[in-house]
Symmetry: C2
Subunit: 328 residues, 2 copies
């Protein structure tokens, strides 16, 4: 089965929302007087930490897998992921009755591996620095006839993730508000491009901003150069969810026009944001889920006086990593 | 100034909601597919952890203090609390421009003391086992002319806390749902009695259940005997927010009729619930905020097949206590 390779539209995000209704958690928009006071902005948090599997990834995975025709489902699905896409695919496959194989790096966080196994998926390990995960996935897909579910560079995945932005737009509109800035954490760009489709269709003047770990700012550099840039390193940030080497082809077709700007935060700043979320917001956020929040807290988002939506994209953090952040 | 001593009504809760609109956070109702699967119930969490000051206590404190006539405000307010009422009073007083003195036991959690000071309150310490906090408060009130803000046994405090129940009832009704059970953590009974007023006015068949730490089940025993029973000990549970010795006079007038049943959880069960909330819900809950959740998780609430609302009443937990729960 070959995926459609043209970018999705805002209407595709609406269609994904209809498929996800009653299946995905409609996460709330949370406001915090402390966060507003600290930033001078009117901030709304979108806690995808509360989503099924603890990250937004379930949305895209379900929107993709539910569209696999019944007769092609028996051989199941295969995906590559260090953890959150893995859980999203495993959970969506389980709900829909398909077997799932996840190709996961050996250095993936223990919690993410365990939770993927708990969802009933088969996990195949690989070395992120010496092995080619795409080759492994393709071999499994070929051997079993399983359908590959890409982590981001796919119209159905992007449309599913975009429902995060649709809900932000709907909930703000219901309060009579328009966002000045919407920012989310970025790896391959599926989430931010999907969000941009939904938000810009309703609020054309809203700025959609990609938040990336310092040193892994392939989107920010790509926006400036106009072409897909690569990160120098494949590892070296504890934001394990955000280590994709370069923007996706389809995601970049959308994000170069509808996003177009990026901010970064260092690991130390992200650790402080995780500690802030524990102390002041009472929310558990993983490193890759806290970059946009860290950028906001460190004044990188030019948020003062503005209405700002920040996506907390995941909360699957090991106890040891979390405790290290609290004492940072 | 003497407080009215008759119990509040559901209409008083409505009036409190009008006073709190735009000041208190309207916390969301959160659902979790994992929690539903584990319990066999349809569970809705009311995370007052996300409330201003990290607990529901701000609601009652603000509803009380905002009704102090302007000419009586200059001498400020005084309150006794181990931490959450302290922060609620301090924050409400600060927002309304009154000075606040908090009489706080020496063994209050460090985080709660620090946050009360951050809100600009003056903290006066005392020994919970050898000193009489009421005498200290009365002396301060007499010396300064400050108005005492009771922690629970006051109609305005109860009505303010009851807005938690009003919001639960409204949000469930908006989804076409009726709660079978609403459960909250109980100390003096201000929260549970306020919730019962609001919920039973809209859903007369809903059961409202008091959740107490094992060994501090004064409400459960009082409901059974028909009179206000006392706890044998004044300390010995790590649920520091729930150590009131006996139900309030006014709160019990309401709760004996509208609540009438209690459940308990041990400290070990509460620690497991805090760990569950970290791993599966991505929420930070303090010991006294997790007793109802612990009772639900340990099958004490007869929740299977039912629609259940659980109040997570606070999230102000020290790092050391939190980490101990994660490794329990």
């Amino acid at each position: 089965m070959t995926s459609r390779r043209t970018p999705p539209t805002a209407a595709d995000v609406d269609a994904a929302a209809a498929r996800l209704k009653g299946v995905a958690v409609r996460t709330p928009l949370i406001s915090s007087p402390v966060l507003d006071a600290v930033t001078g902005a009117r901030v709304f948090l979108k806690p995808e930490t509360l989503q099924r599997t603890g990250s937004f990834k379930f949305r895209g995975a379900y929107n993709r897998i539910v569209q696999i025709p019944k007769e092609q489902r028996v051989a199941g699905v295969v995906a590559c992921s260090s953890g959150n896409h893995a859980q999203g695919v495993a959970a969506a496959a389980k709900l829909l009755g398909l077997p799932a194989v996840i190709v996961m790096p050996h250095d993936a966080p223990a919690m993410k591996r365990e939770r993927t196994l708990e969802w009933g998926a088969e996990v195949v390990g690989y070395d992120r620095l010496t092995e080619d995960r795409d080759a492994i996935s393709n071999r499994i897909a070929a051997e079993r006839g399983a359908i590959f579910v890409p982590p981001y560079d796919d119209p159905d995945i992007m449309a599913g993730q975009g429902t995060v932005g649709l809900e932000i737009a709907e909930d703000l509109a219901a309060q009579g508000l328009a966002p000045d800035i919407v920012s989310a954490n970025v790896s391959g760009g599926g989430l931010i491009s999907g969000i941009a489709l939904a938000v810009k269709a309703r609020f054309p003047n809203a700025r959609v901003v990609a938040a990336e770990p310092a040193g892994f700012d392939d989107h920010g550099r790509s926006f400036r150069s106009g072409q897909r840039e690569r990160n120098a390193a494949a590892s070296g940030s504890f934001c394990d969810a955000l280590l994709a080497p370069t923007p996706g082809v389809i995601t970049f077709e959308v994000s170069r026009h509808l996003v177009g700007e990026g901010v970064t935060a260092t690991d130390a700043e992200v650790a402080k944001a995780i500690s802030f979320a524990f102390r002041e917001l009472k929310l558990v956020v993983e490193p890759g889920g806290a970059v946009a929040l860290a950028a906001l807290l460190h004044g990188r988002l030019d948020a003062r006086g503005k209405t700002v939506a920040i996506v907390l994209s995941g909360g699957n953090v090991d106890t040891a990593t979390f405790e290290a952040c609290l004492s940072a």
